[in-house]
């Protein structure tokens, strides 16, 4: 009992601050019930909170986890360095070896061409599938069905052997005279077969990605475009697709990264892309592991570049979908440097730094200082 009483008392004497305006604005029942209106609350007035320092919450678990991860990372790194069988000198030697660079170029060319075919045709297939024509719908459905069903490696070999089925290809009137004719092997070489195989099967997957993106655009956008009389092709290109891109981009970059590595399957055609080149070299000199590492490093580099590109592309298409764009890593670094400099030099912060970010970079942060710019950067 003795512990309860003082608590009750204090609760009566110091009401929550929100109750205070009610006193002045005239809620007579509240005033008369508990409080003698003359006594000021015993708690510090709210203005004084600003002089208090805010400490971040303690996270002991995080420190333990960080230490554990650091130890594991150090072990892995040291084994990479100390185990001579990795043969890093060989890796360094072959990393920019001319034939490796040629192979890398082959991989990039193949990826770019297959992605262009895949996403170009995929978009067309998606639009066909969403069109009102039953014929176009079924053609698109049938295409996706066939090309998703047949294994890629089989498709590649089939395209490469097209010359067996059709020794010449010709342009002309259907069932009528031929106008132009080519040898199949001249048109579809290894590169052509690889692009066809990778691109056509990619199109089947991209079509579904693009279709999902279009379905994700609000029906009202289609209706508004139709109500304004905007031509059909323009509705797709200008209104619907740009908004669909927001959901298309993340999955597409995923697919393109898959394609980069997927090109290595083309070694069955003995096309000189990165992986095939590497296997040829280690077949000759038996330095298997270091050469695989060379390929791994290059795949890592390509994926990194694509991931960075993804960030900026996503940011581009986020315009209008979010109220304020998130800062880029470059902006974050620049702002941190400017904030650090202003703390060292005591000069005021440049106005280009958003207030929310400037405050977050302060050592003593808290909700009390977050709103005011007056406290930022040495004004204290």
């Amino acid at each position: 009992m003795s512990t309860v009483l003082p608590q009750d008392e204090s609760r009566q004497i110091a009401p929550p601050p929100a109750a205070q305006p009610a006193d002045s604005s005239g809620d007579p029942s509240a005033r008369s019930s508990t409080l003698p209106p003359t006594k000021p609350p015993r708690q510090a007035p709210s203005g004084d909170f600003e002089s208090l320092r805010v400490l971040p919450a303690r996270q002991p678990g995080r420190w333990v986890a960080t230490a554990a991860v650091a130890v594991l990372l150090a072990m892995a790194l040291s084994s990479l360095v100390t185990n001579p069988r990795w043969e890093w000198d060989v890796v360094a030697q072959y990393l920019v070896w001319p034939s490796i660079v040629d192979g890398l170029w082959g991989t990039l060319r193949l990826t770019a061409a297959a992605a262009a075919v895949g996403f170009g045709l995929g978009t067309v297939l998606a639009l066909m599938r969403l069109s009102r024509s039953p014929l176009l719908q079924s053609v698109s459905w049938g295409y996706t069905w066939v090309f998703r069903s047949v294994p890629l490696i089989l498709q590649l070999l089939l395209w490469y052997n097209l010359a067996y089925l059709y020794p010449t290809l010709s342009l002309g009137i259907p069932f009528g005279p031929e106008l132009l004719s080519f040898g199949t092997l001249d048109v579809i070489d290894k590169f052509g077969a690889a692009v066809l195989g990778l691109g056509l099967s990619q199109a089947a997957y991209s079509a579904e990605i693009v279709r999902a993106g279009i379905l994700g655009v609000d029906q009202g956008q289609h209706e508004a475009a139709a109500a304004l009389g905007i031509p059909r092709a323009r509705q797709s290109a200008r209104i619907v697709l740009p908004q669909a891109m927001r959901t298309i981009v993340p999955t597409s970059v995923n697919e393109i990264i898959g394609l980069v590595k997927g090109t290595s399957i083309v070694y069955v055609l003995a096309y000189g892309e990165l992986f095939y080149t590497v296997t040829v070299i280690y077949g000759r000199n038996q330095r298997v592991v270091p050469l695989l590492m060379v390929a791994a490093i290059w795949y890592l580099v390509i994926t990194t570049v694509l991931t960075v590109a993804q960030f900026y592309v996503e940011r581009h298409y986020a315009k209008g979908a979010v109220r304020t764009l998130p800062p880029t890593p470059v902006q974050k670094v620049r702002w941190s440097v400017q904030i650090a400099w202003s703390r060292v030099s005591g000069k005021p912060l440049p106005p280009s730094i958003p207030p929310a970010y400037a405050v977050r970079a302060l050592p003593q942060r808290g909700h009390l200082t977050r709103t005011g710019r007056a406290h930022v950067g040495g004004a204290r």
Binding site: D218, G220, Q221, E223, A224, A225, A226, A227, L228, G229, I230, P231, R232, R234, R238, I239, P242, Q243, Y317, K319, G320, A321, V322, R323
Partner: protein
């Protein structure tokens, strides 16, 4: 249709924006949403449609600009059928359905303002307004941009040309949507509950813009629950229930001395 033209010219009123809806029926599956609608809107007139939820008001507007096909009946703007063309065949006259492309052209003369704005979120305010005149009407971009800025001025948002819709309040978005609908210089404007998605204090701004349009002689049909607006500006008030027009006439009659019981009970609820 010739009758239509003579009446409008004889009265000396503007000759554009005469809407005739005749015997329109529309079903979704087995549910008949519109059951024989007849409506005439003369040039420069403001028609306000009132009615309980589900009575078919939105459907009627969507039928007028052919976002929905009718099952029976026709809609004509200034004597031109919406969605169909008259064709002579050896066996007599027929109505041939228009291609989507032709319908899109017709729609540029009917402005539509949606309940939830439907601005294009990825485009700026100015781009939203400029899009249709440039791509659908093939007008010069510079000329259209100048017109767009005038329209923004008119709806009180001259400083927001480069903002994106999500950076605007609901009321501002709706005013942009009105400017966008006006940009194709439509002969008829359709509003589907333009203020019902807005906070009460934003309703006034949007209604002011619509009132301004009404006073300058724009032909319009407004679906709304704002009875005060109807009383002030409507030339005709139409009361709809269950897919039919129950009663129509000047506001003094329909709002103050309704003949039908259903109109009376509805008005008692909303007033």
């Amino acid at each position: 249709m010739t009758v239509v033209e003579t009446t409008t010219q004889a009265s000396g009123a503007p000759t554009q924006g005469h809407l005739a809806v005749h015997g329109v029926h529309k079903s979704y599956g087995t549910l008949e949403v519109l059951r024989g609608i007849d409506l005439e809107v003369r040039p420069g007139e403001v028609t306000v449609i009132l009615g309980p939820s589900g009575s078919g008001k939105s459907t009627l507007l969507r039928v007028i600009n052919h976002l929905e096909k009718v099952d029976r009946g026709f809609v004509a703007l200034d004597g031109e059928l919406i969605g169909y063309a008259r064709r002579r065949t050896p066996t007599g006259e027929v109505l041939r359905e228009l291609k989507e492309k032709e319908i899109l052209v017709q729609r540029t003369s009917i402005g539509f303002v949606f309940q939830n704005f439907n601005l294009f979120g990825h485009l700026t305010v100015l781009e939203n307004i400029v899009e249709a005149p440039v791509s659908a009407q093939k007008r010069r971009r510079s000329e259209v941009e100048a017109q767009a800025r005038e329209l923004l001025e008119r709806v009180g948002l001259a400083d927001k040309a480069d903002a994106r819709p999500r950076q605007l309040s609901g009321g501002q978005q709706q005013r942009v949507a009105i400017a966008r609908a006006l940009a194709t210089r439509p002969r008829l404007l359709l509003f589907d509950e333009p203020t019902s998605a807005l906070d009460p204090e934003l309703v006034g701004d949007v209604l002011d813009v619509i009132k301004d349009l009404a006073r300058t002689g724009t032909t319009m049909i407004v679906v709304t629950h704002e009875v005060g607006f109807a009383r002030e500006l409507a030339d005709t008030v139409v009361f709809m229930d269950d897919g039919r027009i129950v009663e129509q006439g000047p506001p003094s009659q329909v709002l103050d001395a309704p003949r039908e019981d259903r109109t009376r009970t509805f008005l008692q609820k909303v007033l």
